[in-house]
Symmetry: C2
Subunit: 200 residues, 2 copies
């Protein structure tokens, strides 16, 4: 019972470190000072073991989402803030896990795409809400949130893989500038938008 939850934590740590795709029970068990026999005893199967580790990952990620500080005033600054968080070690690990899950989902969508969506959930909702707070019209917020998530994904991937990591940083800066230079909507949707498009 409790041992199982404890093992799930360690399994997740191992997965964040070594990736989900090549995961094999025996090396995993060795790193956790157990045997594959014991892992299967506690979890029943590899599939359930992975499932519990992923559920735990989602809970950890949801708990780590924090609203930005008061110095974040524009959408561009928000994006820079998210980028900085994504480049921290836990952010990189989460990105790698997300990437592994995406690849698995392209191979077996029925089995994995739910997990991808679930891991993304803790970011998408708060981001939409946050954008509205920054004066983005509610009608545009979902698409803009998805754009930001997608761009952060793509650039994180680039930075993860490419030899020249400064390239992704420069691209993100261009993105943030682009967002802050965005013209204010003509309509009167927004409430107290504290947008401040001071560029450069």
């Amino acid at each position: 019972m409790d041992r199982r939850a404890e093992l799930a934590e360690q399994v997740l740590d191992y997965v964040l470190e070594h990736g989900l795709i090549g995961l094999s029970l025996r090396p995993l068990a060795a790193a956790l000072h157990t045997s594959d026999r014991m892992l299967l005893y506690h979890f029943g199967s590899k599939e359930r073991l992975v499932g519990e580790a992923l559920a735990l990952a989602q809970r950890r990620l949801a708990a780590s989402v924090a609203p930005p500080g008061p110095d974040v005033r524009t959408v561009g600054q928000l994006v820079r803030h998210l980028w900085a968080e994504l480049q921290s070690p836990p952010g990189i690990q989460a990105t790698r896990l997300y990437l592994d899950l995406s690849v698995l989902a392209t191979k077996e969508p029925a089995r994995w795409s739910g997990a991808v969506e679930r891991l993304r959930g803790p970011w998408r909702g708060p981001l939409r809400d946050g954008l509205v707070l920054f004066g983005v019209p509610a009608a545009e917020a979902p698409a803009l949130a998805d754009l930001i998530l997608g761009t952060l994904d793509g650039l994180s991937l680039d930075r993860l893989v490419a030899e020249d990591s400064a390239r992704a940083d420069a691209a993100l800066t261009a993105f943030a500038d682009l967002l802050d230079a965005r013209p204010l909507p003509a309509g009167d949707h927004g409430g107290d938008h504290r947008e401040n498009p001071a560029r450069t």
Copy 2:
């Protein structure tokens, strides 16, 4: 000799269809009406087989890059054009291959990151040049090109995996609008920029 090049083509087709990550010689050989024995005879090892298939993929990709038609006049339209190409079957296959390679590169950078970079090359260079033609100052073009590539990657990934494929489309439209609403640079870098920010 010739048989080997012919096999490389078929191997690449198979890899584009089934992914690079779980690639196994026996199912591959069966699909090609040969045996693993023969594949190893012609290529020497699995590693070299994959290497030749990837080199071929790069050549194919480079050959498929074509300048956009005359109806593409703004950066936003260019991005929409690239997006449409990426959603075609070969574009999706290339994206999946790029994704698999990225995952492999996070696990063994020394072995794979070169291949990722090489596969990306045929797009990055022409995109930079294309941006300059559209009036983007030469100093900003590289970062903007990387931003566009990264965003296309991230949104393609989203669309590949997510149940709701319209989400990525909406996000890309927001991106294109954002690019076309971009303020013209104050400096006088650009040559004949035919920018025409007619939005909506």
